[in-house]
């Protein structure tokens, strides 16, 4: 099972002929992802890592048949156009890898996605990896390292930091546990599938027995996960670590934000709400494997 991606998922790479597109296609193919087509307008007819390149998403669909997901590696100013093309062509899962995508572009992508029933991960994401099955994006860097670092198992990982997604997953694997799927939800303020959505998917996935979440200060994603635990929408154990304890809180410039959000978004607010809801808080990243072991014992997961 796993969530979002497995070995059968038919993947398109937009921006496949660029520096990142090429390198990550190599990773995805080498890891076992079913990459069926690539798109770079104007470069149709070429091949990258044995993957046929087309001028448009429409043409790719026509030539290779069904496509389940598209990984987008174009420069940030072009992400909106690439994403809207994929949504218009009917692709239901998008991965927006680039950093620095203007937030108003993300809002437009979100509005179109909502109308067409599509979902997107990111922007500013390393992607998703289901160990032993497939990777969408760039987690692991190379097939050899991705295979070496992450064990298959029953722990779902959701993180707001790319590097930490890999770090948590590696340290969990090194401690002898395994992972169902690891997701970097993206580092920006507005992301397509924030923690609450990913937690919901893990809750529904029969293979996932527990979750590990890396949160950061800002936004209300972690507080919403706490609310879901309280309401009983999440019943599987959740281990959480919140980064940014040392960061001083910035002086707020926006009154409207403060009016709407109240005190939410701070380190203290997130930790307190999660603890109260019954999540297990790790005090440092390096403590996560230890807390995972305790939680597994307590919940009889071994």
């Amino acid at each position: 099972m796993a969530i979002l991606i497995n070995e059968k998922t038919r993947v398109l790479v937009q921006g496949i002929t660029g520096r990142e597109g090429r390198a990550r296609t190599k990773l995805m193919k080498g890891y076992g992802t079913n990459v069926v087509a690539g798109v770079t307008p104007g470069k149709g007819g070429q091949e990258v890592e044995g993957v046929p390149v087309f001028d448009s998403v429409y043409e790719a669909l026509e030539k290779v048949g069904e496509i389940d997901a598209s990984a987008i590696f174009v420069p940030a100013p072009l992400v909106k156009s690439a994403a809207l093309e994929a949504i218009d062509a009917g692709i239901k899962l998008l991965l927006l890898v680039p950093d620095r995508v203007p937030i108003h572009d993300v809002l437009e992508i979100a509005a179109h996605a909502e109308r067409r029933g599509a979902k997107f991960i990111g922007p500013n994401t390393l992607g998703v990896l289901s160990p032993g099955r497939a990777v969408l994006g760039m987690i692991g860097g190379r097939p050899e390292t991705a295979k070496q670092w992450f064990n298959k198992g029953d722990i779902g990982v959701s993180s707001r930091s790319g590097g930490i997604t890999s770090a948590i997953s590696y340290y969990i694997s090194r401690a002898g546990f395994g992972l169902s799927t690891i997701v970097h939800v993206g580092g920006d303020a507005v992301v397509g599938l924030p923690h609450p959505d990913i937690m919901k998917l893990f809750q529904q996935d029969p293979e996932t027995k527990m979750m590990v979440m890396f949160g950061e200060i800002g936004t209300t994603q972690e507080e919403r996960v706490a609310e879901m635990i309280e309401k009983g929408e999440i019943t599987k154990p959740v281990v959480a670590f919140i980064g940014g304890k040392a960061a001083k809180e910035g002086t707020r410039f926006s009154h409207a934000g403060a009016i709407v959000e109240g005190g939410r978004g701070s380190y203290a607010s997130k930790v307190e709400k999660l603890k109260k809801a019954g999540a297990y808080i790790a005090e440092s990243l390096m403590d996560i494997p230890k807390v995972v072991a305790e939680v597994r014992k307590k919940h009889g997961l071994d």
Binding site: R100, G163, E216, Q221, I259, V260
Partner: protein, 519 residues
């Protein structure tokens, strides 16, 4: 989020058709006097700083004559408010207020939609008002594909009891505020107070607008110097660093100084992180170990070696630091040999004497650590490289031990020596720099290490000399990734025939200034 000053925000509102008081910006008391003469008193003078609650600190004053305006201006200009020196005043005709309201648009990250926040009571203390009078607050999500037409605003405001001409003017203002918010890529746009004047006009008396950092490139007309939310003006070094980031789209580079003058008596270190989460975790580790952080730097997103080099050179422009610490998540997907090469080039050029601990765990960490070890013998200070199985805490301990062993040296900034290419040198441009190859040194070289080192196939041999294997134009467009492999390989051969010049505009002058101050 890049903040706009009130006068900049008002310019946007005016362009969008929202009424603002008549006025102008004064940089001197004389200008304040002239503006007042032109407008006709009474006027209000407001300090232009990024701060809330200006009235409470005496930054908003009324004048009944041009002379009084001049006096007030000379008292206000030059005062320090938080971290800012007041350089500008906004002088406006005083409004006759009948009623104060609040209107703002923000982005709701959870619903992924803009959200209008309107309050029928506005003015100072709006956050308290909202807590005490929730019935006065109205929020409304806006569909970006539909926009926010006036009839929708009218529907909302009718529910709040607004009628007639005021209803029409107010709805038009809200609709225009949303248009401005979208057109200028705002993260937030607020008018507080939005007033109804005695003669029935709807006027924006004050505003706070922030622009999305990632979209500032679309709005060069706003004149935003550094697209970031600062609570003080940017330092000179931050401005130099920002120029580097602005010009190179590959990967991320972020540089922020906690202090402009690290006290050599304190344990300040130069911090070089990779990735937000990993950097935070690493900073926690060094802070716990009793260090102070001179700067926060992040190079991530698979940056080229040239970007990491520039980051290191900028970090090493801070005198007074006693160590250099680089650490990210520890399990990075980016190719870590790029970071290693960038770091050693900077360390060798500057011949650093303070120890460096570099935790370059992740993809290609073995190669990265090998590079650090190979070149450490050309660097006076101790350099240690670590990987994913070494915790940030352990690495912070190592740095403390190395500083102690080395007798706690304090970093001295080195002048930047200009590279003088030898006559007849072969050269080509890269995306952000220039590669120089002294073919006279290549004549006696048989090992061809430079061409082998170039894994991107940019170089080839012609008559035994390395030259471009691709079109010069392509090399300049980024096909040469500035990985620095050829330069370092040639250096190890003892030939030193290759020099890759990676300019950092302004850094030479900055270091000269620092050196002069130190004398």
């Amino acid at each position: 989020m890049a903040r706009l000053y009130e006068y900049q925000g008002k310019k946007i509102l005016k362009l969008s058709g929202i009424k603002i008081p008549e006025g102008d910006v004064a940089n001197t008391p004389k200008q304040a006097k002239e503006i007042t003469e032109r407008l006709g008193p009474p006027v209000v003078l407001k300090i232009q700083v990024w701060s809330k609650g200006r009235a409470e600190i005496g930054g908003v004053k009324f004048a009944n004559s041009p002379e009084e305006a001049e006096q007030i201006a000379s008292a206000l200009l030059g005062i320090k408010v938080k971290n800012f020196i007041v350089e500008k005043l906004l002088v406006e005709k005083k409004a006759d207020i009948d009623r104060e309201l609040f209107a703002g648009i923000i982005i709701d990250d959870y619903h992924k939609k803009p959200m209008l926040v309107f309050s029928s009571i506005g003015g100072t203390g709006i956050e308290e008002i909202a807590r005490e009078h929730p019935e006065a607050i109205l929020t409304q999500h806006i569909d970006v594909l539909e926009g926010f037409p006036e009839y929708r605003a009218r529907k909302l405001l009718t529910k709040m009891g607004f009628k007639g001409k005021i209803l029409v003017k107010l709805s038009s203002t809200l609709s225009k505020l949303y248009k401005a918010f979208r057109e200028y890529d705002a993260r937030s746009a607020e008018i507080n107070p939005l007033v109804i004047t005695v003669d029935g006009e709807v006027v924006a008396l004050d505003c706070h607008i922030t622009i999305d950092d990632y979209a500032v490139y679309r709005h060069s007309d706003l004149g935003i110097e550094i697209a970031r939310e600062f609570d003080r003006p940017p330092t000179e070094l931050e401005k130099i660093a920002y120029k580097v980031e602005e010009k190179d789209y590959r990967g991320t580079f972020y540089f922020f100084q906690m202090t402009e003058k690290p006290d050599p008596a304190e344990n300040y270190i130069g911090f070089h992180g990779a990735g937000g989460g990993g950097s935070m975790m690493s900073m926690d580790a060094v802070l716990k170990r009793g260090f102070k952080i001179a700067n926060f730097t992040d190079t991530s997103g698979n940056p080229p070696a040239s970007k990491v080099y520039r980051a290191a050179k900028i970090i090493l422009s801070q005198p007074g630091i006693v160590g250099y610490f680089a650490s990210g998540s520890g399990v990075a997907s980016q190719e870590q040999f790029n970071s290693a090469r960038g770091l050693v080039k900077a360390f060798m050029e500057d011949q650093i004497e303070i120890p460096a601990v570099l935790r370059l765990g992740g993809n290609y960490e073995e190669k990265a650590i090998e590079i650090l070890e190979t070149f450490s013998k050309f660097i006076p200070a101790k350099i240690e490289g670590y990987g994913r199985d070494d915790s940030p805490e352990f690495c912070a301990d190592r740095l403390a031990e190395l500083i102690k062993e080395g007798g706690r040296k304090v970093h001295r900034v080195k002048p930047i020596e200009e590279y003088k290419p030898p006559k007849g040198v072969y050269s080509f441009n890269t995306l952000t720099g220039k590669v120089f190859i002294d073919h006279s040194a290549c004549a006696k070289c048989e090992r061809k290490v430079c061409v082998d080192a170039c894994s991107y196939g940019v170089l080839k041999f012609e008559n035994g000399r390395p030259v471009l294997a691709i079109a010069e134009e392509d090399a300049g467009k980024g096909k040469c990734t500035e990985c620095l492999a050829c330069e370092l390989a040639c250096f190890l051969e003892g030939k030193k025939a290759i020099h890759i010049e990676l300019p950092i505009p302004g850094l030479k002058e900055y270091r000269e200034k620092i050196l002069k101050e130190g004398e």
